[in-house]
């Protein structure tokens, strides 16, 4: 048996023993474990599942052992993912630390920063949030204006962030700040700080779906120790872009596609109905088929990209943008088609007279409108593809 097959064998046995049966069932949004100081677990199984996975570093399987990660090469990471999928294991931890901040800290952080900040991410002890967008800096992110001044032994930060996902629940923030006003991209730095620091205030934003996954974050005279600057002063834009790439890859591969709730085909069969094995509404049937085919091809593309392993630079950036554009449009289409299948049952906002599944589908549909905005709008990602993948010239 070669090394990989050996690893598959021992992994399969280990998962058989250590992954509780209840962690092999579909997970609703409320059951997601986000970790952090104020972590809540939906069950003791969920708590145990995170603990045993984190002990092996398998919440971050590719990160080096010395920072708490699993130390696995790409081939073994792929095997681990296959084995987890095989038993339909829930992800033990959802985390912006794992998906976004950790990968850039590994690349750009100092040794001391990596040793201090990475292990608590692996174990799910610290929950991170992303201080990127500002009221005046959305798609044009590099025009951000949150001021960060050098006060000798510390930085002093003043400004406002917006669309900070779960800032009200997070323990630490990674944040883009302006350290030089004379130049646009070259005047941005990447800092991190504890959300308990004096002067940090968060205010949830109510969305059209009724939920508040995003916040406004106000920063007033926030003192940040100088060793919490990541990378060089005024060198934050490179880190910011790399992190966005990880965010887009992750949004595409994980978040949009796996929404719990009604399956589109089941809903079509149940609410629209079949005649001689075919959906009664033939126009809707054609549109669902077209969507499902693109969706299947997208999943195949993600699988193939995973198997291809790491790629660098321009290829990685355009791949992340390609997948982000596709994933956002597919999830929005799926939500629209689901609501259409549900008909009257998809119009409920709350209360009696509507099924829980129907109400959830309605809220998901409204929430999905953000998919083509968050993490870089579809338009910005098409710009990235045009430039990086297709080599088209910048607008003059």
């Amino acid at each position: 048996m070669n090394e990989i097959e050996e690893f598959r064998h021992t992994t399969r046995q280990w998962l058989e023993t250590h992954c509780p049966a209840s962690m092999r069932t579909p997970m609703s949004e409320r059951e997601v474990v986000w970790g952090g100081r104020n972590v809540t677990f939906p069950s003791t199984d969920a708590e145990q599942w995170l603990r045993v996975m984190a002990e092996l570093g398998w919440t971050a399987p590719s990160w080096p052992r010395q920072y708490g990660g699993g130390g696995l090469d790409a081939a073994k990471v792929a095997v681990l993912q296959q084995e987890l999928r095989r038993i339909k294991a829930r992800p033990p931890l959802y985390s912006f630390g794992l998906w976004m901040f950790g990968p850039v800290l590994l690349e750009f952080g100092s040794e001391e920063q990596k040793q201090r900040l990475l292990p608590p991410i692996v174990r799910g002890e610290i929950r991170w949030c992303q201080g990127y967008s500002e009221p005046g800096a959305g798609s044009d992110l590099a025009s951000l204006a949150t001021r960060c001044e050098d006060h000798g032994d510390h930085f002093l930060i003043n400004g406002q962030k917006i669309w900070t996902s779960y800032a009200n629940l997070a323990d630490w923030m990674f944040c883009l700040v302006r350290t030089d006003t004379r130049t646009k991209h070259g005047g941005i730095s990447f800092v991190v700080f504890d959300m308990r620091t004096a002067g940090v205030e968060t205010r949830p934003i109510r969305l059209i779906s009724g939920e508040s996954p995003f916040c406004e974050t106000f920063l007033t005279d926030v003192r940040v120790p100088k060793d919490q600057l990541i990378g060089p002063l005024n060198g934050g834009w490179e880190i910011a872009k790399r992190l966005l790439m990880h965010e887009r890859t992750n949004l595409s591969a994980e978040a949009f596609g796996n929404a719990a709730g009604l399956d589109l085909l089941d809903a079509a069969r149940q609410f629209v109905g079949l005649r001689e094995g075919m959906l009664i509404d033939t126009d809707l049937r054609a549109r669902i088929a077209r969507h499902r085919m693109r969706d299947e091809a997208f999943r195949l593309a993600v699988q193939q990209a995973r198997a291809d392993g790491a790629r660098g630079g321009t290829a990685a950036a355009s791949l992340a943008s390609t997948f982000k554009v596709a994933a956002a449009s597919l999830n929005q289409q799926r939500c629209e088609l689901l609501i259409e299948c549900l008909g009257h049952e998809g119009l409920g906002w709350e209360g009696d007279g509507f099924s829980t599944d129907g109400l959830r589908a309605t809220r998901h549909w409204l929430r999905s409108k953000g998919n083509s905005i968050e993490g870089g709008t579809t338009e910005i990602n098409l710009n990235v593809i045009a430039k990086r993948a297709l080599g088209l010239p910048d607008p003059s």
Partner: protein, 374 residues
Amino acid sequence: MSMNSDQQMLEDSARQFFAERSPPAAVRGNRAAGRSFDPDLWREIAELGFAGALIPEMYGGSGIGYRGLGVVLDAAGRSLAASPLLQSAFIGAAALLRHGSPEQQTRLLPRIASGELTLALAMDEQAHHRPEDTRTKAHRVGDRWVLDGHKRLVADGDSAALLLTLARVEAEGSDSDCLRWFLVPATTTGVTRQRRHTVDGEGFADIEFAAVELDAEAALGGAWQDVIDIACIGVASTMQGAAEAALALTLDHLKTRSQFGQLIGSFQALQHRVARLYVDLQLARAAVTAALDALDGPGDANSEGQLQKLASLCKALCGETLHEVSNETVQLHGGIGMTDVHDSGLFLKRARVLETLYGSSSHHRDRYARFVGI
């Protein structure tokens, strides 16, 4: 599955070979010469081992496999190269490998691998691809078969030596279970073929079978459906290459054509159109790759249900993407794209033929919908 280094090398050399030896402009050369393909090109393709790509070495093939030959079809599609590669090396060889008797394989495969014997899939009979409605009949007379019927627009039907013909064996019933493939030498008495000039200039023919007598060994065994699925996957590979090449042609234009004092490729309205096509192409490519890998894979990946679903998936996705790309190629080139001297039109014409071959995108979406139970 990702490409291994052998496949990567194969891709590079195949693309280089077709780009140099048979660029899109060669379509005009064939048209002027009044031929559907260049026999010298086919000989060179065979010498490179591509004609025997699916065929094991024991039969004189190179055993590159489906993914490998898919890469070559993609390269041929990229330059719109006309040759028996798809019909003979991909579809014909696959049908014999899966359903041929040892005797048929020993007799025919080495000649296919050398490029000397070419095949063509004679299947469709009407305006649309409806194999289950096949009317061509085969009946037994003693220990021989007799074929009667008519086939419409057989690709390579004007030149192939052996016609892989779908016919209904009447004695065995009337439903689609009694369809079988027959190997019909084109020179058999009662076979008449008439070249039909299609928009893409390739070698299509209508074929009549009038009391065509065949040996008992002319029938292939086994199921008939998988040959069509394989044919669809081969066409999809070809379409993927053609679509990527048409987009590349368009990008070249956007990067060199100036209006209003700037390159038109700097206009965001145009950038977003081609960027969306690029996204669609990545999805279509993933579908073709998965289908080719399934053909190379073990029995379970390659199970009938899975193969049918992947075949329809890639045929429809590559077809609709090529459709969009070929239309945009003409539009984004502006006036020059409407002229015969420019390659845009060659891509457009080939696109429609390939989209229609073995079931339109719409046909395969319908089929996919049935597979997923709606």
